[in-house]
């Protein structure tokens, strides 16, 4: 068996240009698959997992957790009158005049925001009640983008804010600047208006329910997900391409293996005559197929890591860092195995049909 495998690999080495082209072809297909999957995975991790136990009350037909919702502070009285036990105001808007200089701003209640969101403070200290006006806490990615750290000043809508800390949530909130709700209202000239109220899900109001005054109830965390899920159809369209490339890779692999086997038909016939069964010859082909696809997978993984370094995604101000994880790499290895198996089906069937005696006569 070992001899067969060594012989098959020597054959590949003898046709190194051909093997290289095949490896590159498979590598490019796997790269395509990994880039799309990496994007999808990251979007899922940073956006889809967000919906939490709370509800929000916002202006109808808006994605209030990003921007666009503006409601009066008196709505809180309407909510308490309905029996809601707690309503925490929040402010969400963007500042800037283009996608390039856009900054996502969140106004929070300094006394209560830490009960709503789990965050890790990377440096400095968290925003807290009693902080002087114009104090901001920046998400990790925003701090990197602006090149500021805790203790320094950051310009938000032309005003200087003292950065008290840098935080990390692992979600799109890492692109945001968090200030006190009073600062946010003052900065945007909203008076006492807020973007939304966060309320507990006590069964009094239901997601999707409309309230008087153009308000509606939604599950908290869905706004960003809805915004980003608009990219899903694009990824679905790319799925067609991935499927097509997988078929193309199998066909190209089949073509290559059959032709390599054809070039070595005399040697293969001798092996058959010396007692090697067609199953053993399948090992010969499989080791060639696996070498080519594994080489392609390695190139694909390396290429994807490079693509992800240079092609950081920015979806309307919300940047995210697509990356591979162990699960995806394992899936890729599984696919590599599947490609190899599919690629040898036809060549093995062809070899089984060959009569070694005829072959030896033909090639002598």
């Amino acid at each position: 068996m070992r001899t067969l495998i060594r012989y098959s690999l020597q054959d590949l080495a003898a046709h190194w240009k051909l093997s290289l082209a095949m490896t590159l072809l498979i590598g490019a297909s796997i790269l395509f698959f990994l880039v799309i999957s990496g994007y999808r995975l990251t979007l899922g991790r940073e956006y889809a997992a967000l919906p939490d136990v709370n509800l929000i009350v916002q202006e109808s037909n808006t994605l209030g957790e990003l921007y666009g919702s503006r409601i009066q502070a008196q709505v809180v009285e309407q909510l308490y009158a309905l029996g809601v036990s707690q309503a925490i105001p929040e402010f969400h808007d963007t500042v800037g005049t283009s996608v390039d200089d856009m900054l996502m701003l969140r106004g929070v209640d300094p006394a209560r925001y830490q009960t709503l969101d789990r965050l890790t403070l990377l440096s400095g200290q968290a925003l807290q009640p009693g902080d002087p006006p114009r104090t901001a806490m920046l998400g990790r990615r925003l701090a990197e983008k602006l090149g500021v750290s805790a203790g320094q000043a950051a310009l938000i809508r032309g005003r200087q804010f003292n950065v008290c800390g840098v935080f990390h949530t692992g979600t799109y909130a890492d692109n945001e600047a968090w200030v006190s709700i009073a600062d946010a209202q003052d900065l945007l000239g909203w008076g006492s208006d807020v973007s939304l109220y966060i309320i507990p899900d006590e069964g009094i109001l239901q997601p999707g329910q409309s309230l008087a005054g153009g308000l509606s109830v939604a599950r908290r965390g869905q706004g960003a997900y809805i915004s980003v899920s608009q990219k899903d159809p694009l990824l679905s369209a790319m799925d067609i391409v991935i499927q097509a490339l997988a078929v193309a890779a199998v066909l190209a692999l089949t073509n290559t293996l059959i032709r390599l086997a054809w070039l070595r038909r005399r040697e293969l016939a001798i092996l058959r005559c010396t007692g090697f069964q067609s199953g053993a010859l399948a090992v010969y082909l499989f080791s060639q197929a696996l070498t080519l696809t594994l080489g392609g997978a390695l190139l694909g993984v390396a290429g994807t890591m490079i693509v992800f370094v240079f092609l950081r995604a920015d979806l309307a101000g919300m940047s995210f860092e697509p990356r591979l994880d162990a699960g995806l790499v394992l899936i890729t290895l599984g696919l590599t195995l599947l490609l190899s198996l599919l690629g040898i089906v036809l060549p093995v069937a062809w070899i089984r049909r060959l009569m070694p005696g005829d072959l030896l006569r033909d090639t002598s």
Binding site: L25, Y39, N61, S210, K231, P233, D239, I240, A252, N255
Partner: protein, 379 residues
């Protein structure tokens, strides 16, 4: 030449099984390339199309990306109109209308909602009626053809949003817009959204004899306009949507390049196989007096025939996919993306794949002229 072609096709026919396999695998690579190229083309068109160059100026709150994020005061708008008339003459402003603007999620799609006086719909925004009529009542709306297509609405039906039912009374074409839009009267907008936030867009239609950019630049220098407000050309406001999809465009272009590289490697692979299989025949041709370049021409002809056949087959299959597959037509951020295999997509692809075939043949045969014939025959 005829002998050359005859020999070429005879060779392909003799090797029909493997030729077919090569064409099949290449054609599927071509499908991948054509689909990604068509996607990139769709985003490119959306991002770069300037819309119709109009003589409209729009006044928005400064430091906003979406006009709905701010408001324009009536005093500032009146000031702008008066300033233009004072500088460029009383006839310089043909019409000025305040417009309530919102970007809303309606039936799962992003749509722009404009509330403007009916006369403003035609005289400023230049809406062209495609079916029905323009809205006049408080519970009536018209929808752009993009909105009708995205939501699958029909004129005459009821549409619900922002907690209220509206009758869709007309379908319109808004040339300057890039995404789906709904239109209602200013009064209807005030009744729906309330008076508290006023209007978001001050729209001025200026005389056709004036240069819109000159008027815009002048307005921005008028005290009382800056720094609270910014004035844009109408098509520039819509062009800003193109920025939002720049990364998607980059992404699809990278995917397109990848798909093209797959074709290159595929053609290189097929040509290398041919050369490897025919090394003895090629050596015999060289011994018989054929030059290296003649042999290369033959191999290129063979690769080109296979590539062109694969391209034709791939194009047909890709057309089938775009015609039948649901994923080939979708909406994103209020724009309708249709994967279309236009000549701008298909023809450059054909040239590029032919170049790939040439490159692959050159890479595998460039050393042919220098090889020792004895060594070639022994191989």
């Amino acid at each position: 030449m005829i002998a050359f072609l005859g020999y070429l096709f005879k060779d392909l026919r003799h090797d029909w099984g493997r030729s077919l396999l090569t064409v099949a695998s290449l054609s599927i690579m071509v499908i991948s390339y054509l689909l990604t190229a068509a996607l990139a083309d769709a985003f490119d068109e959306f991002g770069s199309r300037p819309g119709v160059i109009s003589h409209n100026l729009v006044m928005l709150a400064a430091d906003t990306i979406d006009p709905m994020q701010g408001s324009v005061s009536q005093e500032a708008f009146d000031l702008a109109v008066a300033a233009v008339q004072a500088q460029f003459g009383p006839q310089s402003v043909r019409r000025a209308e305040p417009t309530i603007f919102r970007t809303l999620r309606i039936q799962g799609d992003t749509m722009e909602v404009f509330a403007v006086a009916p006369v403003g719909m035609t005289e400023i925004y230049n809406l062209a009626l495609l079916a029905g009529r323009l809205p006049t009542g408080r519970a009536e709306i018209a929808a752009s053809q993009e909105a009708v297509s995205l939501a699958g609405w029909q004129v005459g039906q009821e549409v619900e949003f922002y907690g209220q039912f509206f009758q869709l009374v007309g379908e319109v074409r808004y040339e300057a817009g890039k995404i789906a839009s709904l239109w209602m009267t200013y009064d209807a907008g005030m009744a729906l959204f309330g008076e508290r936030r006023g209007f978001q867009v001050g729209a001025l239609n200026i005389s056709g004899e004036l240069d819109p950019e000159t008027v815009r630049a002048y307005l921005e220098s008028v005290p009382g306009i800056r720094p609270a407000y910014a004035v844009y050309l109408e098509h520039d406001v819509h062009a800003r949507y193109g920025q939002a999809i720049q990364d998607l465009l980059k992404f699809t272009i990278v995917m397109d390049i990848l798909a093209l590289s797959v074709i290159t490697f595929g053609v290189f692979n097929a040509t290398s196989l041919t050369l490897t299989e025919r090394s003895r025949e090629i050596a015999l041709l060289r011994v018989a007096g054929f030059s290296g370049s003649t042999v290369r021409r033959f191999l290129f002809g063979r690769a080109l025939v296979q590539t062109l056949a694969a391209y034709l087959l791939g194009w047909g299959l890709a057309r089938l996919v775009t015609w039948k597959h649901a994923a080939s037509s979708f909406s994103m951020h209020g724009m309708h993306v249709q994967i279309i295999l236009s000549p701008q997509v298909v023809l450059p692809g054909l040239v590029l794949t032919s170049l790939c075939a040439w490159l692959a043949v050159w890479l595998t045969t460039h050393h042919l002229g220098q090889r020792n014939l004895v060594v070639l025959l022994n191989e």
